[in-house]
């Protein structure tokens, strides 16, 4: 049977072919995906996570939710019945990216149909773009935003061009009733390997279909060093202070900056985990934390030994609204995985007296990412330190894609002074931010210029 593909990138809304009957050959899953899923989302974490294709408050029967959760890592191989007209081979054949060859932070293109077969004229093969945010074996996360109905849709890489990387497993993730804004994927390569093995155990005419499954392109990762993510992401650190943990960024081989609400007390002992180039944990001590009254939620940790092999990021001197940025943080998985990378743009640079005092981005930022860095995706320069995302107190809704950061230009002079001379004077000035800066960080409207008295 041939599948007469439509002309590529034809104008949306043109009439579709009628649906073609098909038969189910196999239901298949990737055992490694399921094992990682249980490790990351099962156990105690399970109660926090919702993957059903509806908001936590929507009415979904417990049985239906159970069914969806059980089927989350399962996929199906179908054989499409031949059509009437003669079909010919057209359109680019699908090729598959081997597991582990797409680095964290790499751009991805998701193609699925929101609401499935309900409105294919409008929604068939809708595109969404993002990056590979994190991975645990064949369990992948992307910040490409997908909707219910896109389960099973393909996710493709830009390099190698058009390689199938994964299929959408769960388009909506909710954690602790917060929309996470990330999509759960199952890598395509191990899934197709499972399909080949399963087909081999079926009657010969089905087994022959294994030869038709798309090949893997590129060098299998076991012949490569694990494809590294963006070099600048290595500066992101996991910071543990007592029972609290968050993210941080190395600004010198012996200095890590994080948030005050992660490491609030000066002289507190802090354990800093560096993941790349190798996983090490180094003790440190909080040498400075702003006062509660300071709008700048910052703490500085001095390490007992230097970070080895971690590229120290270049601090940015200017900010360009609209530029493509990346946030690297340990939200979502915390210690269970390396840092997640989410992409977006610098959506606002708030200034007081022509000086940037707050950055906003559209990256997905979650609890646990506080203290993490924002990088310019193109230059790799460090732009700022993430401090918070947004919650609507009226509705309780959290907006991971609206978040606030301290521009590195606010911190850099004081950090440099301390790093070179041990003088904390510059950092203490952060406790004396002016009232207009405080107003901005209280998310209030800057005070109008007070009318001057004529006297």
């Amino acid at each position: 049977a041939g599948l007469e593909p439509g002309p590529s990138s034809s104008p949306r809304g043109r009439p579709l072919q009628p649906p073609r009957p098909a038969e189910l050959l196999l239901l298949l899953s990737c055992p490694a995906f399921r094992a990682h899923f249980v490790r990351l989302f099962g156990g105690e974490a399970a109660e926090h996570w919702h993957f059903v294709s509806a908001a936590p408050d929507d009415e979904v029967s417990e049985e239906e939710e159970e069914d969806q959760l059980r089927a989350l890592g399962w996929f199906a191989l179908l054989r499409v019945h031949p059509g009437q007209e003669a079909e010919e081979e057209r359109g680019p054949a699908v090729a598959v990216a081997p597991l582990g060859t797409v680095p964290k932070g790499a751009p991805l293109l998701a193609c699925g149909s929101p609401f499935g077969a309900f409105c294919p004229d409008i929604f068939l093969n809708t595109l969404s773009r993002g990056v590979l945010s994190n991975s645990a074996g064949p369990l992948l996360l992307t910040d490409a935003r997908c909707l219910p109905g896109t389960e099973g849709g393909g996710v493709f890489a830009a390099r190698p061009a058009g390689a199938l990387v994964a299929l959408v497993a769960a388009p909506l993730c909710w954690k602790a009733r917060e929309w996470v804004g990330l999509t759960l994927l199952c890598a395509a390569a191990p899934l197709l390997q499972a399909a080949r093995m399963a087909l081999a155990s079926l009657p010969p005419d089905s087994a022959a279909l294994a030869a038709l499954l798309p090949p893997e392109v590129g060098t299998p990762p076991n012949l490569l060093l694990q494809v590294p993510g963006p070099p600048w992401a290595a500066a992101a650190m996991l910071v543990e202070c007592g029972t609290v943990w968050g993210s941080g960024v190395a600004v010198a081989p012996h200095l890590v900056v994080t948030c005050r609400h992660v490491a609030p007390r000066e002289a507190a002992k802090v354990l800093v985990h560096s993941i790349t180039p190798k996983s090490v944990a180094i003790w440190g001590c909080v040498v400075f934390a702003t006062q509660e009254t300071s709008p700048y939620d910052i703490a500085v940790v001095r390490l007992e030994e230097d970070l080895d092999g971690v590229p120290i990021p270049v601090p940015a001197e200017h900010f360009h609204e609209g530029e493509v940025v990346s946030v690297v943080g340990f939200g979502i998985f915390g210690q269970a995985c390396g840092p997640s990378v989410t992409s977006g743009i610098l959506s606002a640079v708030v200034q007081v007296d022509d000086t940037p005092v707050m950055l906003q981005t559209t990256c997905a930022v979650h609890s646990g990412s506080s203290g993490g860095p924002i990088f310019s995706t193109h230059s790799g320069d460090l732009l700022g330190i993430v401090t918070s995302n947004t919650r609507d107190n009226n509705t309780g809704a959290t907006y991971p894609h609206l978040n606030f950061s301290i521009p590195i230009t606010v911190l850099q002079p004081a950090l440099q002074r301390y790093s070179q001379t041990g003088d904390l004077g510059g950092l203490h000035e952060l406790d004396h931010a002016t009232e207009p800066v405080r107003v901005v960080w209280r998310l209030q409207r800057p005070l109008p210029q007070a009318p001057r008295s004529k006297l």
């Binding site: 599948l3 072919q17 059980r70 199906a76 699925g112 149909s113 294919p120 390099r159 197709l192």
Partner: protein
């Protein structure tokens, strides 16, 4: 979308499809649908999500969590399962398309 995405977009749109599952004789009694990827065109092979098959599993969804199970043969689903696959547009008139219920979608002005 940047130049780098041209080939990926073409591949994505050529490979994309939707899959719907319904019960024989009851096409309107609720159908389940999802997205899929066309792996081969001749003969047609499609990979899609397995969630739409749970209502048809003879042994119920519990069989999906059995530890050693990595695959289930096609006859694990009841005989009344009917599957249809739809993909990119051609010149056919829209009349040929089965009208399916529209979800409760609306487009509120922002």
């Amino acid at each position: 979308m940047g130049r780098q995405w041209g080939p990926s977009m073409r591949t994505a749109e050529q490979a994309g499809c939707v899959v719907s599952a319904s019960r024989a004789g009851q096409p309107t009694a609720g159908s389940w649908s999802c997205s899929g990827v066309i792996l081969s065109r001749s003969p047609g092979l499609v990979l899609c999500h397995g969630g739409i098959f749970t209502p048809f599993l003879r042994a119920g969804s519990g069989c999906l969590t059995a530890a050693a199970t990595a695959f289930l043969p096609g006859d694990s689903c009841s005989d009344d399962l009917r599957l249809h696959v739809q993909w990119g547009p051609t010149a056919e008139s829209p009349a040929g398309r089965a009208e399916l219920g529209r979800p409760g979608l609306c487009t509120p002005q922002c």
